[in-house]
Symmetry: D2
Subunit: 342 residues, 4 copies
């Protein structure tokens, strides 16, 4: 017997969700809701087996539906996910999970009380490239982590409800959250709006940890070219992860610094360079949402905790909220625990 799924929101991302859920054995998309008549028409055409409605409440009431996917603007995430949990459904929420840390905390609690799966659609965590990098870091291939630097820019759609930080940075924040086994300590962010009365369209976020790791994200809606390039530095090896590369998305460089202890004087510590081979492991071409759909199903069936569970969703929202506070404090480092300037 298949697990019944209802999808709320059939805008930009919803169709990808629906298509992948339809092709996952054991999952059945039973209903789709959207406020737009045009989008509902599209959904009906492409997904003839599903009920299509303007009223998401029909999905919550439908007893053939076990799980709800929330694929709506971020402002409505908490309300819809919360209602779905109350209706006894498992929930998969688009990133970012909620619009505030407070909402995120509440949602995590509500899912725990309801004993339902709460999963966040941190899509990149399910790509073969990011999983390969996680594997390399976990195996110690990079040595001690030094930095994570990401550039995610393009001539992007202006959002009216959120700024570029809340639109693009969740991708990197979720990758950082997944790759680095440490809690972000504080966050700095400077951003700028170039269109009157519109949210910030370019932003720079820096994250600090209780260790010498430094994370930096550059997000920009007004760039002339699309760049998706991440540098990850470690004491033993370094990675260039370029998501625009068709093949060789992940390149591992056997390069780094070698410290030779000097017998005579401490300030004459010699620093040598290691400049060795480059290796690009084969990256499977599996679609991330396909892997993610199967994982969601497995978690629901076997009561497993998702890799991108509510806690992961909360940590990402913490980074974003700290960044928002930092913008208001003109770039000062914000302590993630207190949301106050350090």
């Amino acid at each position: 017997m298949s697990i019944g799924v209802g999808v709320i929101g059939y805008g930009y991302w919803g169709p990808n969700i629906v298509r992948n859920f339809m092709e996952t054995p054991g999952l059945a998309v039973r209903a789709i809701s959207d406020l737009s008549e045009q989008r509902r028409g599209l959904a009906a055409m492409r997904c003839p087996g599903a009920k299509v409605t303007a009223d998401y409440k029909e999905l919550l009431k439908d007893s053939s539906i076990d799980a709800i996917v929330v694929a709506t603007p971020v402002g409505s995430h908490y309300g819809l996910a919360s209602e779905a949990l109350k209706a006894g459904k498992h929930v998969l929420v688009e990133k970012p999970m909620t619009a505030s840390v407070e909402q995120a905390r509440r949602l995590v609690d509500e899912a725990a009380s309801a004993k339902r799966v709460l999963m966040v659609d941190h899509t990149f965590v399910y790509t073969s490239a990011v999983r390969k990098i996680k594997e390399l870091i976990a195996a110690g291939t990079l040595g001690e982590l030094y930095y994570y630097d990401s550039v995610r820019v393009n001539l992007g759609l202006f959002q009216h409800d959120v700024n570029v930080i809340w639109d693009l940075a969740p991708h990197d924040a979720s990758i950082v959250e997944y790759l680095i086994d440490q809690q972000v300590a504080c966050v700095s962010c400077l951003a700028m709006s170039h269109v009157p009365n519109q949210p910030e369209n370019v932003g720079y976020i820096t994250m600090m940890f209780n260790s010498p790791i430094i994370v930096h994200l550059h997000v920009n809606w007004l760039a002339p070219v699309k760049i998706r390039q991440t540098l990850i530095g470690g004491s033993a090896r370094m990675i260039v992860y370029d998501d625009m590369e068709l093949s060789e998305k992940v390149k591992i460089y056997d390069r780094g610094v070698e410290l030779a202890s000097s017998t005579d004087r401490i300030h004459e510590l010699r620093i040598g360079y290691r400049s060795g081979d480059m290796h690009a492991p084969k990256i499977e071409l599996t679609e991330a949402l396909h892997v993610e759909a199967a994982h969601f199903k497995e978690c629901m069936e076997h009561g497993k905790t998702p890799i991108t569970d509510g806690q992961a969703g909360l940590r990402v929202v913490q980074m974003l909220e700290a960044a928002s506070h930092s913008i208001k404090h003109r770039g000062r480092l914000i302590d993630v625990a207190t949301m106050q300037p350090t």
Copy 2:
């Protein structure tokens, strides 16, 4: 009659200076000084016509020498340049001009009193690529400037006396100083050292102006690959300037945002996208130092103010010193005028 030149410092950069000055009609390299015997040997071999000495003071005393090039570590710039001015010589100083704003101010004053040319070796300002970009900005091709974003990273030599900010950022700071006709208002910087007892090897600098321009520099000595990529965004056009490209270093994108005024409601301002052609103007392959040497000569002969004069050098040092203060204040924006957190 040629202008006699003496070069103090024959380390990494000195040989390039000497070679280009030798090939400039009207300039004659008469003497070279360096503390290292090995470097003096090299100088003597490659520049048989010049006197080679360990004592820079000989250059200052030599009446056949009209101009001194200071190509030594930054800590000695002010002292040597100051002495040279006092000895009645014109001076060209390596970047950054001095190790502090105070020194920079004094040097500018001393040059004015001595009525001698004080020029700073902001090499990139003399490249065909940067001059082409200046030309485009001056002609209004880019429209209103939005941002300047530079990534300057590689597996670089660790410096023991300066950090990565003072080593790599002067390049971008001097380009910014040249391209943008506005005074930097404040500077934020976060940086990290990953090698015990060594200066910071990765840093992020953000500069704000009294206008919506935002400048951001990423400098890194510990990157797996060499990147020299700058994005320059404007309201009318955008530029990708990639110094690692052999040809097409400067690409101009006819892309941007178009605002369509909406008759009904202000918050429904429509934002359209313009995505047009790309154009890569021919960039001459002339060596920057060659152009710079000729410009130095012309300034000395005709009493002209160099494009990269002491004021330009001062402005670059201001950016760097503000960045240093910001590091100490954990990334807070530092007012360049007061060097205090804003």
Copy 3:
């Protein structure tokens, strides 16, 4: 009233045809046939409105079907297209149109007699990139054409029925046929098989014209990387057309040779170089098959001759057959008119 379409063959390319025809207003996919039960299952799932059958003859008999698309292996093209014309249908055939020049000639005649549209699916001719290049050549932007050089290689699927020439070269042959307004005079081809009992997997084709244009194609199923790069040289300008580029697929270089007549001696003709700007015009992202479907419909409705009509299909088959003859004659140039070595 829509034009009814029947599609014979739902293998690799058929689904793309069906999807684009379904989305073209005025066209209705009424039936699909395929010999494989598995492919029929897929067709039924994705195209619920169409009849799905194993017997293509049902499509020919169906009076609601006005046009037949033949998307089967090349060996069956002529037979199926011919039957369809006899049944009074318009026909769109996959490339290459037929397996021999003789078949191609007959098909062209049969379409003329039947007064039906015969169109060949030379897909690249309908891409924005190739249409832009045609426009540039037609406008004289390139000057006199010198050469067309294409590299089309990758780790491709081995075909058992055709060699790499008949599999990959039709793409370039159809582009050449479209761009160059001259009949190919003769063709040379050398090829090699590296897998026992299998067709040639690497091949080099050279085409000569009654003018100094030279065309060269490199096709390879066993390359480590995917390359789709074409150089087009003209007396005034040159083009690099790289189909793997996401943007800037077509780059126009203002480079070339300039002949300066010398007053003294003719053999001292001076050759100068012009090395100017590069320009990458905006290329629309429209899917080629979408444009092609609309064009097919227009030709049927208004009795127009398709851009890629039977004559174009014939010319491409002539190039391929001449190449096959050349392989047998160890690379000798084959006269396309006589199919004999020159």
Copy 4:
């Protein structure tokens, strides 16, 4: 005691020879000759220790000169090298070694009689990249060799005395000669001139062996961009060698075809694909001429046979002469042994 060297010809390549020979311990450049007064002035300035003369015969007579480098246009190679051998000198000749196979054979014989070292300046053979590829092939890393495909094109200087085949193809011919331990059996070449009364400026050469290896070279003086890309295919692995890459010049792909024997029917031989990792070994940045100069010295001192000896030079000239014959026979395969069409 140093080996004395005389260099005949100080044009485009001569200065590189002189600079590298000067920096090789054990070699002393004693004299340079050139017909142009301007070039002699340059030589005198840059190489103050050497005698500079218009008359190469002075070099042959000079008893302090043990070896002669011939860096003149190809038409004079045989005559000068032959004279030098007669004068008892060792000889290093620019590529191609001579203008004909007959001259090449004679020169090899003369060097043998004179018991002097005859070496050809096949520079690429001394690059770290080509030596690494040789090492990989010799170690069996690539498996059985399938093909060698090179594209060497740019907006190059028109030569008046030789065509693009004799100008650019010697580079690839010498690499092929070095990498592949088999004699070329026959050569086909088609080429075209686009400038009246000038030699061919674009050419395609195919080489066949007594095995299924196929070699193909594309050389072009009139290309809009500079390309130096070679694909090398083997049964086990494949290489992309891109000389324009600053790092990662050699990429090894663990990709290929796997044949699975089928139990039932031979024509259903299954062909599987292996698509694995990519590996870019570190390539040293040593200048090829530096390695070559040291090798020349070692051969002279210890009576060793150079890697690029007269026989290697002869084999390259054979390929070029066969290509020239093929052009005259409109692309027919020319048997290298008989220089007749096959």
